[in-house]
Amino acid sequence: MSDPLDEPAGVSQYLTTPITRREGGRCSMRVVGRCRMVPRARFLAALGFALATVASPSSAWADERQRQVLVMYSTRRDAQIVVVGDRELPRILEGGLQQGVDYYSEFIDATRFAHSDYRAANRDFLRLKYTQHTFDLIIAMDDLATELAVESRRDLFRETPIVFFSDHPSPRPPNSTGLIAELNLGATLALATTLQPDTQHVFVVNGSEDRYLEVARRQFRTFEPRLSITYLTRLPTNELEARLAALPAHSIVYYLIVGRDGANENYNPLDYLDRIAAVSAAPIYCWVDSSMNHGIVGGSLKSQVAEIRAVGQLAVRVLRGERPDSIPVSTADFNVSQVDWRQLRGWGISEARVPAGTTILFREPTAWERYRIYIVGATVLVLAQAALIVGLIVQRATRQRAEAKLHASQTKLIASYDRIRDLGRRLLTAQEAERARIARELHDDIGQQMAIVTADLELLGRDGPARLDGGRLVVETLDRARLVGKSLRAVSHRLHPANLRLIGLVPALGGLQRELSSTETRIAFTHDDVPPALPQDVSLCLFRVAQEGLQNAIKHSGARDISVRLRAGGDSLVLMIDDDGTGFDVEAAPPGLGLISIAERVEQVGGTLQVRSMPGGGTHVEVSVPLRTEPSMKSVAV
């Protein structure tokens, strides 16, 4: 069978005890002695058989007697198939029978015991060893074991059923059943050429064993001449290593088995595989799964576990009482496609070429797979931290902006407060100055005149018009009284123009023009399409603008020519005052009280104020107010 690879470098041989091996000669002596015991054993066996045949299979199954099972392997005892078999079979058998099994195993190490007497020696050994045993079943793994079991039936396992395994079609012995899984060495080559399509050379490594070599030669023929196939067999190990180290490009190595090399040195085939894998210049493929993890890329590999389990299931059926001859010999395929991920990487073979259904073993997790949780965690942490930092920066910037804004608005507020305070102070001053002027006028002019009128009237009252110059005094007093009246009207007019209220804006502006015109300053007043009826606030606003503008032009800019234009257009009424005076820098000069009060008045009637001026360039004041006529004023139309 197929486990040659598994054979270790000869810890022990086929025997279960070293004593037997050392005392081979005395063994044969004992054989005679034991032989006397044989009739009794035969009797017991015959009795057991008779009982088994008389009783139904179920009754045989029902009895609690411990079953004795002998497994015979066609390999050395440390082969991998033995390791797998001795581990799996007792479990399978005991599990299937649900009771303990008395389990034995024997080994035929034909590779190391190549001489012709080995077979007979084995037979004798078994006969001597098991003469007092009656086995319920012999499991024979591969041809050598099957042959030995059959041969031993003559004097030892006469009635014992056999369950056999073979890797090629073989005849079925009496009272047996079996399982045949044919060797398929070519499948590995097919996989190898799929993984490495540019393969041109195949170097088949084999030791002294012939059985796999023959199968290989037969099965590999179909790959020729596409592939040139070279068989490196029976070479001394150092020579083989030298050959493998110097393989041409586009080569692969197919490892069949080396248990003994061309120099007749024995090796554990898996150790040998490790050794050549270390030196090979080309990827190595194999055919059995025990070779995985020994430096091969992979292959279509026979699964030893699957093989052992199938044999075990068959054994359970027989032990349960089924007649072996009634169970047909079945065939099976235990090959599985496997590749070693590390070798793919090592030889630069693309994983994409691995056919579907192939198991990839020994895949090393990538850094991502291995540290995914840490990477994700760290990334999340870093991102969160970054977000936090960005958030803090944004927050700081926002705060700084808000602070700057606050500071600016505070500054503005302070400036505005200062301006208002200054304005208030100036307003108070101006109001006080105006009051003082009116008081002075009332006292100095009107008051004095009234005092004289009063005094003259007293004089007239005492002396009468009969007095010498009585007639003149009456005339003078009358004139003085009229003058007082005129002065009073002038004061009243300055306080509030009565004509504006009574006869309208245009006549009032005309009055202003006449009032302020002089030889130094010419004032021109034009008006165009002005509606006769205007709201009081609009009239007063425009009148005050004109009054302030004219006074500024006369007093501050020394203008010689001033034009006042009032024009209605569309929905607005526009007043423009232009002078040819000295002008001023609008941006630099702080607005005077007059301008401030004008702006205030204009704003109150929803209008706009523009002042354009430059030093030496005169001044242009323009006020535009929305035009809305007041129906109640129509009656005032003049």
């Binding site: 009565a498 004509n499 209220r501 006549p507 005032v636 139309a637």
Partner: protein
């Protein structure tokens, strides 16, 4: 009073002016009423149907121009003589536009009012000499 004297309605918010004007006109006119604001003037005109209205220009509420406008609007055709402290030509012009035939400055009340009313009654304009 003789029937051919013009029947005059006096309108002024100042009682003293009303008294003075009544005294000045008493010899040449029949004073049918003396009222102190615009609405009363309009009512009195409707009920008393004066031949002539002597109307103060500056009054609280309705001013003289407004009263004149209303009188004309309700069909009153009586001549109107304005009284005013203002001696500007603008005022005179405005008064004329409002339908007045006479304009008397109050400082010349004693000398000008009788002439202005007599002229107005005869259909002729009269304006006080401006100071």
């Amino acid at each position: 009073m003789t029937p051919d004297l013009p029947r005059v309605l006096l309108v002024d918010d100042n009682q003293e002016i009303l008294d003075r004007a009544a005294a000045i006109l008493s010899r040449d006119c029949t004073i049918v009423g003396a009222v102190k604001d615009g609405p009363a003037a309009i009512d009195a005109t409707v009920t008393l149907r004066p031949d002539l209205v002597v109307l103060d220009l500056s009054m609280p509420g309705m001013n003289g121009f407004e009263v004149a406008g209303r009188l004309r609007a309700i069909g009153c055709a009586a001549p109107i003589v304005f009284l005013s402290v203002h001696g500007d030509a603008d005022f005179v012009q405005a008064a004329t536009a409002a339908g007045a035939i006479g304009y008397v400055v109050k400082s010349r009340l004693a000398t000008d009012l009788v002439t202005a009313v007599t002229e107005a009654h005869a259909g002729r304009p009269y304006v006080s000499r401006m100071a």
